[in-house]
């Protein structure tokens, strides 16, 4: 058994190191042409540029992929956020990217709302819209970028976490229930609160 453990540890170590090397080489190589385009475009960009956030609801609804993905940013909405926050994916660390995006988010929070027949909250927070559409990637990004998760929408008087809790209730017994529970835990872990906790 001991030898098995040792073998396993060695194996794991190799795997992790191999992965690390892969991460750096491939990411830089793949992102280079995109970053060049992004850098050129940035010269003409007002910074931060809230105009880039326009049409965001449609991008969340369509979940369209970016034809020129920037590294692991594969969705069009990610590109819009990166551009709005004037992120340089080549230079900025993950932490800086998160800071820049959460700042743009904060400044434009009132515009990041959606009205849609697929969405049961009028002028509702775009994160709620993404929850409704089960757009995992968007929710993960928002938690990772540490944007404000605790806005209370005027129209329904609920935070994102309140909304997800209600959706769980409404979807009990359906395939979407565990997915929604997953969002609830993920958001809570990222600091989302109920209105009553604010």
């Amino acid at each position: 058994m001991r030898s098995a453990i040792v073998t396993f540890l060695i194996f794991t170590s190799f795997a992790v190191h191999a992965q690390e090397a892969d991460c750096e080489d491939k990411t830089i190589e793949e992102m280079r042409p995109v970053m060049e385009v992004a850098a050129a475009a940035q010269e003409e960009t007002v910074c931060p540029n809230p105009k880039k956030l326009r049409g965001m609801c449609m991008l969340i609804d369509s979940q369209d992929k970016d034809p020129n993905p920037q590294g692991h940013f594969v969705y069009k909405y990610q590109r819009k956020f990166l551009e709005a926050a004037c992120v340089d994916v080549k230079k900025d660390s993950e932490e800086v990217i998160a800071q820049k995006i959460s700042k743009v988010w904060k400044e434009n929070e009132n515009t990041l709302i959606c009205n849609n027949t697929k969405f049961d909250v009028g002028n509702g927070n775009i994160i709620k819209f993404a929850v409704n559409l089960k757009f995992d990637s968007f929710i993960t990004d928002m938690t990772y970028w540490k944007v404000n998760l605790n806005k209370v929408d005027e129209t329904d008087g609920r935070t994102v976490l309140d909304y997800v809790r209600d959706q769980v209730e409404r979807n009990k017994g359906l395939a979407s229930e565990p997915v929604l529970r997953g969002y609830y835990n993920q958001l809570k872990k990222a600091g989302a609160k109920h209105k009553s906790e604010l």
């Binding site: 058994m1 991460c23 089960k134 409404r170």
Partner: protein
């Protein structure tokens, strides 16, 4: 075994921490960006380029862990591969079936196109086990089919779905169904939700928008998204999310949204649109019904053909199958048995499932093999892109929610108070309310549509397993035959679509008293107008004392990019050019545009048409705010709500505009800019020219009659005021027009005219403006 599991879990945990440190992440997530949960490998979701590293992460990292637990090497298993492939392909087929069924059910809820639906009736009939087995050369596939209950159940599920859809009974909810319905706070028949929403979707595509689409060059756009998300479109019509839903969810519109050229060509078929009825005439025409039939038949044929060809192939028989475990994981049978979050190896059955998944790690080379991802795309060709990646179970809920469930929830919870004017949901709500009033027209869904019923009958098939209640409803609706083989005859829908919808209030169905907010049903029209006529509130005048425009050019940084110095340079140049205009002749919008163009050209810069328009508008704004009447428009109307209510509504609308303006929407910018120049009042009363002819147009609005019809009646009646208007319009003389308590000034600019609000309620004027302009244009011609 238990000890073995515990030790392994400990080790896996160590492995996770290694990952964490290496990747410098403070928080690991077991759930990846694409929603896939991986067996006991806490992978940082956002920093890994997952697609390129999946083999490392899943197979190289996780597999050894489970081989440890398993006690031997995990290798590919042909039977397991075939089984997963088979089940996944059939689930995708089921998705396509439910998608088609819902589309047909939708067409049953709206007026008929009178198409005979012959192609669909022959292509979309419910398939049987024999249809699959006949000519199928794969013994493995046939064996798997024999062991599954696929065809035995599906007919029953489709029948239940159809019965719920057409039934009016809130308590009727048979199981199983393909579409999963979440709990609702109230009952609104699904067919009615579709009727109200389809009618509203049609209205959301304004004549101006159709004209816009008609002028587009399809070669410039690679997708519908490109059209709707273009700067030009968004700046003209606002956020396109709602419109996208309109196009995608309408059964007779969506077949035309597959490509920009399909869509633009379809829009070109709407001749000189002046109202929604022109679009409806095309939508509900027989050729369009025949097109629906063609698209539906192709979807049915393609889906079954792709399913059969892939599963009956030699590659399937030999196990030459390529399943990408990272792309398809969520669709696998085993994925249902895996927990969502932690403790992924906490029991032997879970370990078993994980091992089954890891067996697929050997299957990483797709050369010469049947690729499940590609085959699923062909089988589910009609399924929406964002729903393609979903496992069937999630799709069933998501599909229903997206097209019916969420809207039903909204309608259940909505009141006039939280009905946000200008949104589709609010318009649908008002339409729904209007149908509840006595004397409202009967709904199309209450009548028979023989062709659609026949199509539904063949799609559902006739399984002996269908529940008695389901059968009873389908018989009563004329979908399934009675015991004697005859169909129940229901009355045919009596009106043409245009006649029917003419009875349905399209705008301001249950208006808030007073005149606050924007027009609910034609908000996009209003937005379009606010841009296309966005110089209508400025001070261009052919009658006031001639003078060069003072312009409002002190800050154009919101319209022009560049350094502060560059912008100031451009501002100064424009001011200089404005100052050079002859004093004897008033500046026109074309003069202003030319100045903008020339200034930019002189500076070696390019200008977009929208910048040109916006700068010209700005030039023609008064430099100093006009004298402002402080009175609120509502004080004149005894039926108005309290001033504070109206102000609050108006404030909300204006705040929305501010947001939109911030996002770069010019229409909103213009309204706000005009507000600024007029002191933020609803309308300014400037220096009124005293020598203009004034026409008072008497229109009595009835909530049950559309504004467009009211104007159309005026034309038909040809009363003295209408005749006078014709004379004024044809002679191109500027004049004043009074409607209710609003005063407009109609100002000619060459052959074109602009309708400027002189005084009165701006929101009400914006609501009325689109139809008023159409009315005046018709009179002029």
């Amino acid at each position: 075994m238990k000890i073995k599991i515990l030790i392994s879990l400990l080790l896996i945990s160590t492995s996770s921490f290694s990952n964490e440190i290496d990747c410098d992440q403070e928080d690991n997530l077991s759930k990846l960006a694409n929603g896939i949960t991986y067996p006991n490998c806490n992978i940082p979701a956002n920093i890994i380029d997952f697609k390129n590293h999946r083999k490392n992460l899943l197979c190289n990292s996780c597999k050894p862990s489970f081989e440890m637990i398993h006690g031997s090497k995990i290798v590919e298993n042909k039977n397991h591969l075939q089984e997963e492939f088979f089940n996944s392909a059939f689930k995708e087929y089921k998705k396509n079936l439910s998608n088609n069924l819902l589309n047909v059910l939708k067409t049953r809820s709206i007026p008929s196109t009178n198409s005979d639906l012959n192609k669909s009736i022959s292509s979309c009939r419910m398939k049987t086990q024999n249809d699959f087995a006949n000519g199928c050369s794969s013994a493995s596939a046939k064996k798997l089919l024999q062991n599954s209950e696929f065809f035995a159940n599906i007919s029953r599920e489709l029948a239940n779905d159809a019965a719920i859809f057409v039934a009016s009974d809130a308590n009727f909810s048979p199981k199983p169904t393909i579409l999963s319905r979440s709990k609702q706070l109230c009952h609104i028949p699904e067919k009615d939700v579709i009727l109200f929403s389809s009618a509203t979707y049609e209205e959301s595509i304004s004549p101006e928008m159709i004209e816009y689409f008609k002028k587009l060059d399809p070669k410039k756009y690679s997708s519908m998204f490109d059209i709707l998300n273009s700067d030009d479109f968004v700046e003209t019509f606002g956020d396109p999310s709602d419109l996208k839903v309109s196009l995608g969810n309408h059964p007779l519109l969506s077949p035309h949204t597959n490509s920009p050229s399909d869509f633009i060509n379809f829009m070109k078929k709407v001749p000189a649109p002046s109202a929604t009825k022109d679009l409806r005439a095309l939508l509900y025409s027989k050729p369009n019904g025949d097109n629906f039939d063609k698209v539906m038949a192709e979807s049915c044929d393609k889906s079954f053909k792709a399913l059969k060809e892939s599963l009956c192939s030699n590659e399937f028989e030999n196990g030459q199958l390529f399943i990408d475990p990272t792309e398809n994981f969520a669709k696998f049978e085993i994925s249902n048995k895996l927990p969502i979050e932690d403790a992924l190896a906490s029991s032997e059955s879970l370990i078993d499932n994980n091992i089954k998944l890891l067996e697929l790690c050997e299957n990483q080379n797709g050369n010469g093999k049947k690729n499940l991802t590609e085959i699923n795309k062909a089988i589910g060709s009609s399924v929406q892109e964002d729903q393609k990646k979903m496992p069937l179970e999630l799709f069933q809920t998501a599909k229903h929610n997206a097209e019916i469930g969420t809207l039903t929830s909204s309608l259940c919870e909505m009141t006039e108070k939280n009905c946000i004017q200008g949104t589709l949901t609010c318009s649908i709500y008002r339409k729904y309310q209007a149908f509840k009033t006595p004397g409202s027209p009967s709904k199309p869904s209450e009548f028979a549509n023989k062709g659609v019923n026949e199509l539904l009958r063949v799609m559902i098939g006739d399984s002996p397993k269908i529940e008695p209640d389901t059968r009873r409803i389908l018989i009563a609706e004329g979908i399934l035959p009675k015991e004697d083989g005859k169909l129940v005859e229901k009355p045919q829908f009596p009106d043409s679509p245009q006649e029917f919808f003419a009875k349905v209030p399209a705008q301001k169905i249950n208006p808030l008293p007073g005149k606050s907010g924007s027009n609910p049903a034609s908000n996009q029209t209003a937005r379009a107008q606010s841009t296309s006529n966005n110089y209508s509130n400025n001070s261009v005048s052919n009658n006031s004392t001639p003078s060069a425009p003072a312009g409002n050019m002190d800050d154009i940084s919101d319209l022009v990019r560049g350094s502060t110095e560059d912008i100031k340079d451009i501002q100064d140049e424009i001011k200089r050019r404005l100052g050079n205009l002859p004093q004897s002749k008033p500046a026109t919008i074309e003069d202003a545009k030319k100045i903008a163009r020339d200034t930019f050209k002189n500076k070696g810069r390019k200008i977009t048409p929208y910048q040109e328009q916006a700068l010209a508008d700005r030039m023609l704004q008064p430099a100093v705010p006009n004298s402002v009447s402080a009175s609120t428009p509502n004080t004149a109307n005894p039926n108005s709500p309290s001033v504070s209510d109206t102000e609050s509504q108006s404030e909300k609308w204006r705040n929305g505009l501010k947001d939109k303006a911030l996002m770069g929407m010019q229409g909103a910018q213009q309204v706000l800019a005009n507000d600024a120049s007029t002191g933020r009042g609803p309308a300014s009363v400037g220096d009124k020219p005293k020598d203009l002819t004034k026409v008072a147009l008497n229109i009595a609005e009835d909530p049950k009659v559309k504004l467009s019809d009211i104007f159309a009646n005026k034309i038909d009646q040809n009363d003295p005021e209408t005749q006078l208007l014709k004379v004024l319009l044809k002679s191109k003389n500027n004049f004043l027009l009074q409607i209710k308590d609003m005063n407009f000034k109609v100002v000619f600019d060459g052959n074109n005219f602009n309708v400027l609000l002189e005084s009165g309620d701006r929101a009400e004027a914006e609501r009325m403006r689109p139809q008023l302009e159409i009315f005046l244009k018709r009179l002029k011609t």
